[in-house]
Symmetry: D2
Subunit: 342 residues, 4 copies
Amino acid sequence: MRVGVLTGGGDCPGLNAVIRAVVRKGVEVYDFDFVGFRDGWRGPLENVTCPLGVAEVRGILPRGGTVLGSSRTNPFKVEGGVERIKQNLADNHVDALVAIGGEDTLGVATKLSDLGVNVVGVPKTIDNDLSGTDFTFGFDTAVNIAMEAIDRLHTTAESHHRVLVVEVMGRHAGWIALHAGMAGGANIVLIPEKPFDIDKVCAYVEERFKKSYAPIVVVSEGAVPVDGGDMTLQSGETDAFGHVRLGGIGDRLASEIEQRTGKEARAVVLGHVQRGGTPTAFDRWLATRFGLHAITAVAEKDFGTMVALRGKDIVRVPLIEGTGELKVVSPEEYAEAEVFFG
Amino acid sequence: MRVGVLTGGGDCPGLNAVIRAVVRKGVEVYDFDFVGFRDGWRGPLENVTCPLGVAEVRGILPRGGTVLGSSRTNPFKVEGGVERIKQNLADNHVDALVAIGGEDTLGVATKLSDLGVNVVGVPKTIDNDLSGTDFTFGFDTAVNIAMEAIDRLHTTAESHHRVLVVEVMGRHAGWIALHAGMAGGANIVLIPEKPFDIDKVCAYVEERFKKSYAPIVVVSEGAVPVDGGDMTLQSGETDAFGHVRLGGIGDRLASEIEQRTGKEARAVVLGHVQRGGTPTAFDRWLATRFGLHAITAVAEKDFGTMVALRGKDIVRVPLIEGTGELKVVSPEEYAEAEVFFG
Amino acid sequence: MRVGVLTGGGDCPGLNAVIRAVVRKGVEVYDFDFVGFRDGWRGPLENVTCPLGVAEVRGILPRGGTVLGSSRTNPFKVEGGVERIKQNLADNHVDALVAIGGEDTLGVATKLSDLGVNVVGVPKTIDNDLSGTDFTFGFDTAVNIAMEAIDRLHTTAESHHRVLVVEVMGRHAGWIALHAGMAGGANIVLIPEKPFDIDKVCAYVEERFKKSYAPIVVVSEGAVPVDGGDMTLQSGETDAFGHVRLGGIGDRLASEIEQRTGKEARAVVLGHVQRGGTPTAFDRWLATRFGLHAITAVAEKDFGTMVALRGKDIVRVPLIEGTGELKVVSPEEYAEAEVFFG
Amino acid sequence: MRVGVLTGGGDCPGLNAVIRAVVRKGVEVYDFDFVGFRDGWRGPLENVTCPLGVAEVRGILPRGGTVLGSSRTNPFKVEGGVERIKQNLADNHVDALVAIGGEDTLGVATKLSDLGVNVVGVPKTIDNDLSGTDFTFGFDTAVNIAMEAIDRLHTTAESHHRVLVVEVMGRHAGWIALHAGMAGGANIVLIPEKPFDIDKVCAYVEERFKKSYAPIVVVSEGAVPVDGGDMTLQSGETDAFGHVRLGGIGDRLASEIEQRTGKEARAVVLGHVQRGGTPTAFDRWLATRFGLHAITAVAEKDFGTMVALRGKDIVRVPLIEGTGELKVVSPEEYAEAEVFFG
């Protein structure tokens, strides 16, 4: 059998570990051969391929990024896109595809599967917000990076009686903020699922200082104030200089806290540091297992499925499950650790 | 309610995170007060206590070790031990105990529970070999430390055409070796559950060199050769100098491979480095949740239980479940990644 | 002899290592005793002291921050400040002071020394911009943290064809940017000493993309555009919302590059992460040696001096040398590595 | 000009950084072209070459090992070796060589230089024991790895009242042990330059335990007991099993301390972990500067020299200086930190 592999969407530590596992087991156990498609769905759409064998995956396990490149190309938004993909797969004698990606990439995979393309999906999101799987790889790495930053900030917060605001990733789901906040011993954790009240945040900041503690605030990039909160946190507005307003929620929150409480506040914006570089052991282990099981699904011609973690087991679920509704932090999950968060 | 807390057995990153969570939630949500017992069961046996409140747990989340100290004292091996414990608990007005420990510590907890002591257990083992829970805290930290060592060894193995043997923890179970070997891209993984054949190990070493790759061998400290293997790997024997024979399985394996294959082989023995120091995010998160749920079990007077991880949920199981048979690597679990291991 | 110790100014990994070395050698070799003054010059000014002995410095070597606290209090700006300090030193029977701090703290030390107070200084600045010493502790830690961030960003820059801007510390001197940029393989390094031309920056960004490389830009927080550059990078202005303009040079540069080149650009602002947490080996070694030599200077009554690193030697220089002109990156030092920087 | 580059001797983080700097500046500033010689002096001896240009050095800055491979081949021990090297250099139109290596590699370079080969040397030793330069790259990385291990061991030593022995690299010089011991807060540091008295070591161990501290002992692999010390620490002897005696000084010391003091003692042997993997910022900075200055020496035809660090400056010294006597820890340098070491 000849198998195509592609990676789509945002960077995520562990992508290379998946690719390596797919190829190593595919070649050594199933005697498959492989073709790499470059830059997500752009590869099969525009027939951009690269060699992919045991030699190409050598040494890539610990590396961040993806040796196949990535993009957000959506063939369904391209005239005749599906037909071109089918033709290119046929021209390359590709019998099946392993598509590694998030909501968008797997959404395309789902539709192509319905249209007769043999696809197995591998779920990927650094934000950990894909349903169908307990965890996704990359998430543990992001949480550790954020936690290490928080660890370092504690001493500074204390020595200088400053508020430190750490902005972490998470547009729609607060998983990174919640886990890093718990692991780092943050004092306030603000997530997209639970709009925050700036008055309460500032009241808690002041309460902490009275006990002579300096607070650390962890905020998801997608966190928002409650309706009617008198904060000017809107993004994307044009400022007095004619530029789009700079600074994300982290900067704005620090500025707002400083103005309201009179306490110095500083922001740290980790940004893409959270999604690059070498994966943690958990992420390499999970990504490797995802890859091993995905290629077995191909061997068993169990197409239209994706691999998923359930407890300690890797299972297969219909592709549609991974691209259904977003997995967000439930009120119960947030409440579990609330004793630590103002 | 007044609650005693103790930690027993070997060091494990995350112990302080459990203690902190137990105390913070106990004080702030349930209005309990606490007494710390020093050095495992020695504390309640010999009435060695220390203050334990919100002040005492401040800043301990990222720290290795345990602020309560530890020991392997077993009160059932001490004349009148149980009575003394009961008396000391009564004298300290302790209504319930949170006992954090492994097989031995929880074994004592189980028996005391049967004898009427109010105990809730928190499972702890760096080797991840306690049944009843999917994972234990400390394990992820150990695996990451071992993986980082393997990462560093890859370049040296390649540049010098050397065999590198990494001895990791795991007396009875090969979890650390298996996970670190998968995450680090090791070429041979030897675990206690599967006696190894030194001839096959050496044959694979030579095969690797023919392909111009230098192999990395990960070996659990408890790994053993198959019966009749002509290796002299027995421990504890007295050598020609009248000393107990030095060097564990790592050193011996390196020496044996060197002699048999003529390839230079070097051992790295990580030892206690794996069980000290700051915990990973996963371990802090798991340990914190264990602590939060343990004190709730106390509040709900659900004694004789221990907390456990099942999938993403923290559940309660009877104490006896944690101290039953050891959780070892099954043949299927080992086979899953075997494509990578010679 | 009775010796007072204080730490002033911004946080810096290694402060605790200095304190520990001063106290350990002072007690064990010279049989001195010690008093800690809290929060920089506020301590002797307002007579806020704490016990300081071998017990107090135990275990602090690897910790960030300072166990003595810090502040920017300047007794020369307080009515009768100098007299109060002299009186409080006398009341505490303090024969000599070890003052650990940067330009401001040592500036005060210099003046007090001229007024007859027995002071030995230890230079401290994370920015490495104090003259008189080859390096200061804390700087190596900051550079490593920034380098690790850059390492992680490389894969993301490449996979997504994005410009990544990393803002690092350095208000007046570009040492952190220069060293981290060299160590991390950055493509553009902008420092305060050399105003940048935004047109040239953007031209280089575009040139890199033509060669299909995604650039990483490291920028000191104090970097500024050349006069007449049509960038709106001024800080501290009030924007349309009545707030002080948010976002530092990192955010603004990313925004400007994005608008001019049409390439996605993202900023990472490491901020206080660079000055908190555990020091590197170099910083612990340097800080420890500074402490050991400072207390010897006290024992030898060589007051009015500060310790400094020259080559591998710790020497003593007049206090005034450390607080003279700022040590900035010379054109030659910048040019040395310019082959790597667009 | 056409320049050959080779790396010889043991692995050392920073080798790739040197190669990259040599090539980048050589190509971009001097318009040189390059040829890589594989595996140290074996390359020019046996004419094993590889392409070496800007493309080949891309992305290698953070990587351990050497892309050129290494060996300990000595052409002066091969019949007609020198003539073959000269012939191969001529055949490859090589005008000059950059030789990166330690005592042996630079020793060969020195002799070849005397015989008319155009060579510039770059000093390399993880042990930091080459004279002529203040520091060598790789050393800072090794010290940090050892320090991080010691950091992790502190909590375990304390919680379990155990002696922990850490064996670090250093056959002839104790630099790694001394620096890591200072940075990690070790209690005993044993180096090759100062034979140790096992009685005194054990007496100090017992003294520490009386104060309820658990000691950490750092020992260079080349440390030896004083003459007449009744320890059986000889290496390389054949034991009762006919095998070369296993276990280095670390294992033996732990065993000896355990037997004599009755306190549990455990050894950690970091071995090659110290010389593999990504370099620290200091080592990347130093290695990069060495490379930049070495290629300038070539451009200026200043052959027979090697680059060296003196203070903050990179200077050139005659090759012979780097291969003269070993730079060992002087009694004064050891004594500087002795207050910390029992």
